[in-house]
Symmetry: C2
Subunit: 457 residues, 2 copies
């Protein structure tokens, strides 16, 4: 039989076991922090009815949808009525609308699952990737105070992920809208187009952006463009500085005043949530592409790796599920795109291959002693120490090589001698060290080492 | 705008948060035990190239595949070349063949992900479900001792899942084949057909099965049929009884002798792995539908709920990835179909809705004290206690109702009085009890309660 080449489609990130362990540890940290803040787990099916998924027709996203068809439906030439989710927000909206009467509000859920986008194959673009989302959904209303809780969660997550200094950057869409109105740029679409140009500031420079905005396409006055460029360059260096810079914007229309008041309350509360001032800042250039957001918006960047871009984004929205229910469901949330983040961190050398989840390898000196090896392994496992036993006979050197290659730290040798003396020989492959310990002391000795290892990350 | 009805497709199990927590706890138990036995995590993409997925053409499975197509490919009327995985075994084969030179053998992996089958919609049939698999893959060869490790993992998992007494039942395909050969039923396909009839023993009774097997379709002699019926009814009650019953089968052709020897070695080693005799038994009726298995085969059943059927099945196979690589990769593994199992256990009242993952709700007496509430929550979270703070003002009674409905056990009241006295009032909604505790003693007090709760499951 001809062999089929074993391969995956482009745009997926499949990991070798030790990398998978590193990835899994990041997932675990995120989950632990989400749970600590009182978010509840939700999982939704990967496949949804396409009419449910694509209620908001048009747009980039829809062109990237993967449609799904069973063999039978395909054979009958039917059009697919199923599709893979492209984010976790639409399924959340569907979930909340469907189960509304069984949920308690404010509904706080986390969801960490994969989503699918038929992107063009390109380095750093993923067709399958993890999103790790939290959202707080209110019924009828939701206090702006929840907008301050979200950065507290972000802070807690990224501090524990330990990938370097980061800044949670905040803005408010109402402030942005009001500011544009005050300049006579009243149309929402026009505002979006202007912001899209302004977004190119870093890449093209102020002169180029100025030229476009004062040109025929936009026709803004030099004075207005200067005000816009001044506005979007506002960054705060401390909480007081943020208050001052917001005040210095001067009076504006109602929505600008509302946005300013919300930002001030949120910035102050973030502090009360225990987030140090160095970890969050006002950044009036943040707009978020989606028209979806209506109030606070967030982006988070790594201070030493700005090229990675935002590692966690989100914001406040007016109504989650208007396409499914008449209930008014405002919310606030964020998303971490973990697959892309992990890939970038690995690329930047900020995460390395993990130690194995296997703590101990019990070697096989003599197959006659296998029951003794199994008994020892049983004890270790009972104490929560992950243990593998060599069941296939081979030379001891080969067994050590296996442990080394597999990233297993401790190798245990239990030979005739050791069994007679009630001792165990432990080789620590990480420290390149070896010690003998009484069988009865083994678990204690390994636990000390493993706890130290865990404490050091 | 007309509303789109919020709904999921039939055949998926979407859970409310407290059920999702119960489900997640089962996943966690399985993962913890898999890791303790030294299995490494692997995740593979949900979407695979269909030619990779469907190398073994034909059969029930292929008729149930979900094909996947991007919007662009659909518009161009192309035939889909992508499909969703229908199990974790084919992706494992592809993974091992693709990454063969980066893996250490024996390769021990666990994988806990969802798989997809275009089943007819029917109660208890799922189109999306979790499989939780372990496999040990050897290169060129793999000691039969690994066949004894698998039941040790099963024992460890189901003991901790705590869903009642269970029995891991073992048989061996070589023994089965040899036995049939000794009766003159030499053709493999014929053996399968006979076994399929024998499988109806419980449903239709011995007379009906006897009639079919001696009838025109099979043409077996009464004597042969009696021997087959006697054979498949062999069950052991202890390890010694298993040895005795295997011996009592009498001499047979080579493959029967080989199967018997393997079974004896495996049964004995399972004992050395620390599995009590009450938890495993010989059951010579176990064949496993797939032609895939070549040696030891397993099924696990709940003693008090036989109607649930096998909750964990698998076995030894000769060559994992012959369709992708010339390397000879024998292995042994099992799969737990967790979605169906959870659904059945819930149906039988064996799992109930979990307590919330949220341990504590900090109520809001007065919005002026929000900073104090947040500080307290911060301390609790720092101590690993999952805490939610009420940020939206409402009557205290309403806040208690929310906690109760959401399954949160502890509600904390921090009013003017409490703040002045440095005390905290804690209401334990589970015990319907209330106590006051010094602020400095709060974490210790809650930890004691939560650890007790955890210890009791």
């Amino acid at each position: 039989m001809a062999l089929t080449p074993a391969r995956t489609m482009p745009g997926v990130l499949e990991l070798l076991p030790l990398d998978q362990i590193a990835f899994q540890r990041m997932l675990d940290v995120i989950r632990r922090n989400y749970e600590r803040f009182g978010f509840l787990p939700v999982e939704t099916p990967v496949i949804e009815f396409s009419d449910v998924l694509l209620t908001k027709t048009g747009g980039e996203t829809e062109r990237q949808v993967y449609f799904v068809q069973s063999t039978g439906s395909l054979e009958q030439g039917e059009k697919p009525d199923l599709a893979l989710r492209f984010d976790l927000t639409v399924p959340l909206a569907r979930y909340v609308a469907e189960h509304e009467h069984d949920l308690s509000f404010p509904f706080r859920r986390y969801q960490m699952q994969r989503v699918y986008r038929g992107e063009r194959a390109q380095r750093g673009r993923f067709r399958e990737f993890y999103q790790c989302d939290i959202d707080v959904i209110g019924k009828d209303s939701l206090s702006v105070r929840y907008d301050a809780e979200v950065p507290a969660v972000i802070y807690s997550v990224f501090r524990e992920l330990n990938i370097g200094a980061f800044t949670i950057q905040l803005n408010n869409r109402k402030l942005l809208r009001g500011f544009f109105e005050s300049l006579g740029v009243v149309d929402g679409e026009q505002q979006t187009l202007v912001l899209r140009e302004v977004d190119k500031l870093d890449k093209r420079g102020a002169d180029s952006v100025r030229e476009v905005l004062t040109g025929a396409a936009f026709g803004l006055s030099v004075d207005v463009v200067e005000k816009i460029l001044g506005f979007v360059q506002v960054r705060s260096t401390s909480l007081q500085d943020a208050y001052d810079k917001l005040d210095a914007l001067g009076a504006g229309p109602e929505s600008m005043e509302q946005g300013r008041a919300e930002l001030k309350e949120v910035l102050g509360l973030i502090h009360a949530f225990g987030v140090p001032e160095a970890y969050y800042a006002l950044n009036l250039s943040i707009a978020r592409g989606l028209d979806y957001y209506t109030g606070t918006v967030y982006e988070t960047t790594l201070n030493d790796h700005p090229q990675i871009g935002s590692i966690c984004s989100g914001g406040r929205y007016e109504n989650l599920a208007g396409q499914y229910t008449k209930s008014h469901l405002p919310g606030v949330g964020i998303s971490i795109g973990l697959t892309r983040l992990y890939w970038q961190l690995r690329d930047a050398g900020l995460v390395s291959t993990a130690n194995s989840t296997v703590d101990v390898l019990v070697t096989q000196m003599d197959s006659a002693h296998i029951p003794a090896y199994l008994e020892l392994a049983n004890e270790l496992r009972g104490a929560g120490i992950a243990t593998e036993v060599v069941l296939e006979g081979s030379k001891l050197g080969k067994q050590f090589k296996y442990a080394d290659r597999a990233g297993i730290r401790f190798v245990i040798v239990l030979g005739e001698n050791e069994i007679a003396k009630g001792m165990v020989t432990v080789k620590d492959l990480r420290r390149e060290d070896q010690f003998e310990v009484a069988r009865s002391e083994l678990i204690k000795a390994l636990r000390v080492e493993l706890e130290q290892q865990q404490a050091m990350g």
